[in-house]
């Protein structure tokens, strides 16, 4: 388990992720960033600011596409999904904070395809913590970390309601 006091700087990781994504946007300027609520949307917005072309950002809330609805019910804070551009025929980069079981990515892909048929979808995540339960892998990843099952890795924004707020990692081993 990594030292709680030495978690990497999320803002630096996002800058590195933006650098690795930059060639895609140079080659295909119509590429769209789609963030997965909540952390993925914050990262996608930050990436859009950092990339020279400031690509459009969409956001998906996967609550209506979860595979555990019958066990866990509906999340009390479903956010509206917003895909501001027509994604049909365009390359899409799906952005999430933590890649873990892969179930969120599966749900996000299903939701995305209800908005149109993208030319391609790639997955960019800030952290890949292992523990996959589905055949899903990140195309771009800033941080590979192995965490025990009970650990909870969360991206926080301070202040929460400020889009320019500082993004930081927190880890608790509940």
């Amino acid at each position: 388990m990594p030292d709680l006091k030495k978690l990497p700087d999320a803002e630096h990781q996002i800058a590195a992720l933006a650098e690795s994504l930059r060639p895609i946007f140079e080659q295909a300027p119509d590429t769209v960033l789609i963030g997965v609520f909540t952390g993925g949307v914050w990262i996608a917005e930050r990436l859009s600011q950092l990339l020279p072309s400031h690509p459009p950002v969409g956001s998906v809330d996967i609550s209506f596409y979860r595979d555990d609805f019958s066990e866990r019910g509906l999340s009390p804070n479903v956010q509206p999904t917003s895909v501001p551009v027509d994604i049909a025929g365009k390359p899409v980069i799906l952005v999430d904070d933590v890649l873990y079981t892969g179930r969120t990515t599966r749900a996000a892909l299903n939701e995305l395809f209800d908005y149109g048929r993208p030319a391609s979808v790639q997955l960019a995540v800030l952290a890949d913590r292992g523990g996959r339960q589905l055949p899903i892998a990140a195309d771009y990843c800033a941080w590979q970390v192995e965490l025990p099952e009970k650990a909870n890795l969360v991206l926080a924004r301070t202040p929460l309601d400020n889009p320019k707020g500082q993004l930081t990692w927190s880890l608790d081993d509940a």
């Binding site: 209506f64 596409y65 509906l74 009390p76 479903v78 509206p80 917003s82 209800d114 149109g116």
Partner: protein
């Protein structure tokens, strides 16, 4: 006594009435409704939330619009919908209500949407489901007698919140046939809980229930007086099909005293919205000029109604609010 809408842990598993719902539960339902609005705007108007579930529409009383909006809501959640027109089915052959329910349970129903001309019929079914241990089947009251029409109440609250931003400080008027209106009761309970400043009911004495003040509303006989400083004006349909006695001289006379016209609306705030649960009697409770004016939000009510019914279905099926 346990609220029959709730399970042992206090989760909402049936929707019988807006009465008894907490502000938190109402707000959660409205917030969930907001997230379903976008689904109906897409080309692909479906989400897979209730895939494989069977929703039975049991309408013991005729209704086209409410049944249709429930059907659309269920289909946009990917549920299978079975419409039963009970007035022409086995009840007509003598089967009891609860025998019908047992039969539908044996067909593996997951949800019942019930409309009945008798107040309390949905309660009776919920009690029966509880007694027979079928806690996995959910029920939504789609209108029972004069008692309640909670999804209409919720969509009205959604509409008010959408246009007014909230409920604090709002003056809301309900006009006309309060006596026969289950919508009025559902609205009043929800508005009370959500904290509207004042709720006025306006109409002739014969169409206002004698005990209505106990719900915490002001009663007005005079339309302009009741509309003074109102933010929200809800015209109710004159339910002439339910009027058995001589409650009204004529629809024309009702219109002359209580019909909503632009002139009379001057008493309300300039930005007051006008709502109506439909179907409208133009020229009776509402003038065409008002119904077709920009301040009328009657068609948005219909759109919001789909989202709110989707919200109710998914919150109930997902283990409650």
């Amino acid at each position: 006594m346990l609220d029959p809408q709730l399970d042992a842990d206090g989760n909402l598993i049936h929707l019988l009435s807006t009465e008894g719902l907490s502000r938190e539960q109402l707000t959660r339902l409205l917030d969930t409704g907001a997230s379903f609005i976008g689904v109906s705007d897409r080309d692909m108007k479906k989400v897979p939330l209730l895939r494989g579930k069977s929703v039975f529409n049991l309408f013991f009383e005729n209704s086209t619009r409410t049944r249709t909006t429930f059907e659309i809501a269920a289909k946009r959640l990917s549920a299978d919908v079975i419409n039963l027109n009970m007035s022409t089915s086995s009840t007509a052959k003598g089967e009891t209500l609860l025998d019908t329910v047992d039969n539908l349970c044996a067909m593996h129903a997951d949800m019942f949407v019930v409309r009945h001309e008798s107040s309390g019929a949905p309660h009776l079914i919920v009690d029966h489901l509880r007694r027979t241990g079928r806690n996995d089947i959910h029920l939504i009251n789609a209108g029972d007698g004069r008692h309640g029409h909670p999804t209409q109440g919720l969509l009205d609250m959604y509409t008010i919140r959408h246009y007014k931003g909230g409920f604090e400080g709002l003056n809301v008027a309900l006009i006309g046939d309060i006596l026969h209106s289950r919508v009025a009761r559902s609205d009043i309970h929800a508005l009370k809980t959500l904290g509207a400043a004042s709720i006025r009911v306006i109409g002739p004495q014969t169409l206002i229930p004698t005990d209505i003040e106990a719900l915490g509303v002001e009663v007005h006989r005079d339309l302009e007086g009741g509309l003074k400083d109102c933010d929200v004006v809800i015209a109710l349909r004159l339910q002439r099909e339910r009027m058995t006695g001589a409650l009204l001289p004529s629809a024309t006379e009702f219109h002359d005293r209580y019909g909503l016209t632009h002139e009379r609306l001057k008493a309300a705030k300039p930005d007051a919205i006008v709502m109506h649960p439909g179907p409208m009697n133009r020229g009776v409770e509402i003038d065409s000029a008002v119904a077709d004016s920009p301040r009328a939000v009657i068609l948005p009510q219909v759109t919001f109604g789909i989202a709110m019914r989707m919200a109710v279905m998914s919150v109930l099926a997902g283990g409650g609010a």
